[in-house]
Amino acid sequence: MTWVEGLLRYRHTVLALLAAALILGLQARFDLPVQLFPDTDPPTVTVITEYPGMAALDVDRELTRLLEEEFASLDGVTRISSSSQTGLSVARVEFDYGITSALAAVDVQNAVGRLRPDLPATIEEPQILEFSTADKPIITIALTSDTLALDAIREQADNAIRERLEWIPGVAAIDVVGGHKRELHVALDPERTEALGIDMPQVLEALDDWNLMAPGGRVRIGELESVVRFDAPLRSEADAREIILVADGDTRVRLGDIARVRLEPGEPRAAYRHDGQAAIAVQVLRRDDANTVEVAARVREALEPLRDAAPELNIVVADDDSVFTEKVIADMTQTVMIAIALTMVIVLLFLADLRQAGIIALSIPAAFLATFGLMQLASLDLNMVTMSALILAIGLLVDDGIVILENIHRHLDEEGQPPRQAAIEGVGEVFGAKLGGTLTTLGVLLPLAFMGGFIGELFRPLALTLAFALSASFVMAVTLIPLLATYWLRPATSTATPRWRETLEAPARGVRHLYLDVLALALKRPLATLVVAVMLLALSLGMLRMTGSEMLPRFDSGGFQVLVDMAPGTRLDTTLATLEPVERYLAEHEYVVDVSSQFGHETGARSMGDRGAMGVNQAEITVTLVPRTQRSLTQWEIMDDVRQRLETTPGVTLAVPRELGGTARSSTAAPIIARISGEQAQTLDHTASDLLNHLSGIPGITDLYKDWALDTPEVRVRVDHDRAAELGLTGAGLARAVHQAMDGAVATRFRQPPKRDLDVVVRYQASDRRYPEDLEGILLPTREGPVALGEVASLEHTLGPRIVTRENGQRTLDILGFHLGRPLSEVVADVQQRLDTFAAPDGYPATLAGEQADFDEARDHMMRALLLAALAVYLLLVVQFRSFAHPVIIMTAIPLQFIGVVAALLIAGKYVSMPALLGIILLIGIVVNNSIILLDLARRRLAEGLDVYAAVTEAVETRMRPIMMTALSTIAGMLPLALEMAVGAERFSPIATVIIGGILAATVLTLVVIPALFVLLHRLVPALHTARG
């Protein structure tokens, strides 16, 4: 019993199974999680440790370095990077893809535990987070109000809103930004405290002592027992004011006598603005394993009740990653439809039969639904990559159907068999060949699915989706199509060709004749043909080397971020005032949807961007544009406009607009990174400045800047040891006193249930801690009475680093750069050339990191995949042809594709990139199919005794139609992707471009060069003929 006989006998079972698969597929389509990109970030654990009051270099030396050394010994660690800033250490540990972030976090937690006794005593408890602090919040909610002050809004954000959102599954953390957090502020008047002989520690202690909540044990009352409690916490400003600091005879000194006590917004070190208007931002960070679109949808849903509960608040979603994702998926779905329509037009034109076209049309959604089902089983999701794979699949998945249907139709029409018989024989004849063809393509996809590394993570979903689609299409071609054909196909009623078909066939015939003419010419001069082909190939390969390359094509995501630095040391209000006009300009821009700006770093916030916690002189402006299809300016033009505006703003020292998703890996900060490593901060800074000058002027680099420098104003307090000792002061005590006076100390917590506790902060009143002379006037308690700092220390103005970074245990300083107009490879080549001529001091090597390093790694993986794919195809062909030599001829088509690939890339104005390389690999599986069909027939005719010319000519004549048809349908299917009709399609369009070019070239050349080679080989090696015979 043949396959189709069995199929027909058990058709009910088969149809039921198919129906079940389709229903499951349909359900899967709606259940599949949606995201923009596959999750290619390696499992990352971040350790944030606060080290209050310490300078960046000290944090680096005493804390971060120790943590790094401990983490280096953990299993599966691939990269450790860290940054140290004033009072803050952030260490980021990346693990192998095989390790789950939860397990990695446990390892890191244990490592911190082991190290804890060796760490400085004054650090806060290290926070271990299962995500990277460089991750952008997935959704930012801006809160404003017409009636409430910002601190009141902030209080609501910190309580009701935060609480509601933290409960949402998938939310890792909520950061509230906008430095208006309230505190119970005790502003000491240093004159009064001195006059009354009170010092700061006394105040701190009194506040803590009288914010009373303590246990008192148990007492028996009759047969019952009661708990004894001291419950007299501070409940109001007045309570705090009444605290007695000194009681001497009748005299009482109360806190209110020496300080202003108020519940008020704390000193802002961060601010947020939405569309240029001051607001409070609530930022949602997702868990590493959660889905952006789902979490964002839940967050948006949760906002509704919050809006109802607080009508005085304007709750606006200012930045939502999922909007773009949804737009991309919707656009790509539309592209899928267009691709299907185009393919169907080609099919209809070639088959010229509505019934046949109808059967093919039915098989496409069926194959798709089955693909969705398989994707769900493999836990894939719908993203740019898998959607691109689906678009690519359309062109390929009709192939099997067309060939099988045509064969059935031939049996039905030309041999006059009944439909059932036609189906049995039609399928039987090509079943093996089609299975072979499908296996060849799958053989190419297999190495792609297991490439490893970042690129493997990126392309595995694509390879799997394509594999699923092709397998599904094969299954549909051998099940659904014969079944439908049996019932639907009827032999042609008349032999006369309809007029419309005649009109269409004329040019096709023209092409065919032209082809045969060319073939005749080629077969007459096979050597010359080969030489021309080889020359073309050499030219193309040469051109391929000359044309630039990039990791991933840039895409107009409609969103960018502007990193702004004001002169180091600029105060927050100056930064805010300076940038306001630019924000307003952007907010009023016709193509701008939202402008969301963050200034400085909110203490405790976990999302920091990849510049580390920002200083108050720094800002990040996130701009969301309308989709690229709805504007006449590209994102890069708008970015350049913003850059120019900022460059003419006094005080702005750095303005770098970066497209979101500008680098392929989110952990790579910029496409171009020149990294200097070394130990001395001063030498690093100096070398980096030299290198920066050395690198400037390279064409195509838009922004070039150092990630840190010794440029932040510092006032160093040089303590006179003798004087301090004479007065009984210690260095640490002195520093603590100064820190408490200037920056404040948290004395205790102000409880206000059910709301969150607030800090009770004691510091000098604002007017006494503004200028250096105020610093000199800070009173230090000594046994001789209070002494001003100026009496025991002198001040020195110097410069220090804002942040210090390390990479895999080495202190580093990165020079980051972005490029525009020129492909990355060329810019990087220039950078490398200049690096080679750069005289770096000994022990301070400058190396190239960034996107290029990722690209090199990815290219290695892809080259390996390419070779493995070619090997797999060869081995499959050896099995199929039972010959070691013929597969070589067949595979000659593979290099020929490069001619088309290069031409297509040049015409489309695209560069070699990872997707283009992927296209080249996929082409291996596609182009050999033509050769297979061609040589299969030629060999058969040869075996039947025809001479080699006749055999080849017949093979070309007979096989030309199906070859053209599959090629054209594939091209039609891929055209919408190549034309980048969907938003976001730019990323993977080179796959389609390359495949279209490759298929065109391979098709044309397969039909000319392969026969010529075949003839030539037969002429040169007659043994081939005889051996096979």
Binding site: D189, P568, E773, G790, I907
Partner: protein
């Protein structure tokens, strides 16, 4: 024949069309390739970094005052006294309390006088008695002399009578002194204010037994109030009598200008701080000794200084400079400047009136670098 010609013509047409199509593709490809190659070998030059945008201010000479650092100290007075008990007695009356004002000679404390008064009375009585006895003895002596002149009695009797008078006179004198002393002690039971003052503290309450020498009440005179301020060791050299002092009394929220009267010659060894004194010519009503004061000494008045925000001045270990804007470029100009309060500095030398000084603290600015001056910001 005709058919074969048609076939031939068709073939030629096909070939032409085919060649045209192929040629078209080839031309587009070659054109793109040339484009790409020219892009590679002669790329568009990198955009030059734009000159930093800066704001400037015009140098305008104005008056400026150079102050010392802020010093701390307190209000002191020279009239201070503690009134102590001169006799041991029970306190009867102590009408004053801390803060009360007393005029000169006003009663401060009244003590029990019973004992001293009785003693005075006793002495007065004794005086009367002794006086009587002395008169009798005198009369006796007169009589004895008369008798002796008539040789009625021997001389020794006159001598006895004379001795008796002399003894009684001595006793009388002694008693008088004792009486005087008792009267004084009586007077000591009432303590009076030595000068117009305020009571700082009272040590006794009515009923207390005050012993001699025990403090009863402390008084502070409110005339001649002056401020004594502590100065770090190294600042003592800057100060000379005659300088103006801006004195702030935080408790009263009061600021007055006074004159530095004297710099104390020695330093306090424990704190290594010197001190100076300045008298308040018109002290505010509520001013009290012991109040905290803060003072800045006016070191110098400058008539033609150029005031700039402190961040406009750059400095290293050797020099200070500003960047001057001239013809669209920044020029490094060394200056001499002094610190003013509230984040300003005064340029004393190096800048001419009317020069434009760059006030944007941009570290990229170098000598001779082109800069882009944006609308001058008001200072």
């Amino acid at each position: 024949m005709k058919a074969s010609r048609t076939v031939c013509r068709r073939r030629a047409l096909r070939r032409t069309l085919g060649l045209l199509a192929l040629g078209g593709v080839a031309i587009v490809t070659v054109w793109s390739a040339t484009d790409r190659l020219s892009e590679r070998f002669s790329p568009e030059a990198a955009r030059a970094a734009p000159p930093p945008a800066v704001t400037t201010i015009s140098a305008e000479p104005t008056g400026a005052t150079l102050y010392s650092a802020a010093y701390r100290g307190s209000i002191e007075t020279r009239d201070e006294t503690t009134v102590s008990a001169r006799v041991a007695a029970r306190v009867l009356e102590s009408p004053l309390h801390a803060g009360d004002r007393v005029e000169e000679d006003e009663v401060l404390v009244r003590m029990d006088t019973d004992e001293t008064r009785l003693e005075v009375q006793q002495r007065e009585a004794a005086e009367q008695r002794l006086d009587g006895e002395r008169a009798t003895a005198q009369r006796n002596l007169d009589r004895q002399q008369d008798l002796f002149s008539r040789d009625l009695i021997p001389e020794s009797e006159i001598d006895d009578a004379r001795q008796r008078v002399a003894t009684l006179e001595a006793q009388l004198r002694e008693n008088r002194s004792a009486l005087e002393l008792a009267r004084k002690r009586l007077e000591y039971t009432t303590e009076r204010a030595p000068f117009t003052a305020q009571v700082r503290r009272t040590h006794v309450r009515p009923g207390d037994l005050a012993t001699s020498g025990q403090p009863l009440i402390e008084l502070v005179g409110l005339a001649d109030l002056h401020a004594v301020l502590r100065v770090p060791e190294r600042d003592t050299l800057l100060l000379k009598p005659g300088l103006d002092v801006e004195l702030t009394i935080p408790a009263l929220d009061h600021t007055v200008t006074s004159r530095l009267d004297r710099v104390y010659p020695t330093l306090d060894t424990s704190r290594r701080s010197g001190s100076f004194e300045t008298r308040l010519t018109e002290p505010p009503e509520a001013l009290r000794p012991g109040m905290a004061v803060q003072a800045r000494v006016v070191l110098e008045h400058l008539d033609h200084a150029i005031r700039v925000p402190a961040h406009a001045i750059w400095s290293d270990a050797k020099s200070q400079w500003v960047y001057r804007l001239e013809d669209g470029r920044a020029y490094h100009t060394e200056v001499v400047s002094r610190s003013l309060p509230n984040g300003e500095r005064a340029i004393l030398e190096g800048i001419e009136p009317g020069d434009r000084i760059i006030v944007t603290p941009d570290r990229r600015i170098r000598d001779g670098m082109p800069v882009h001056a944006v609308d001058d910001s008001p200072r």
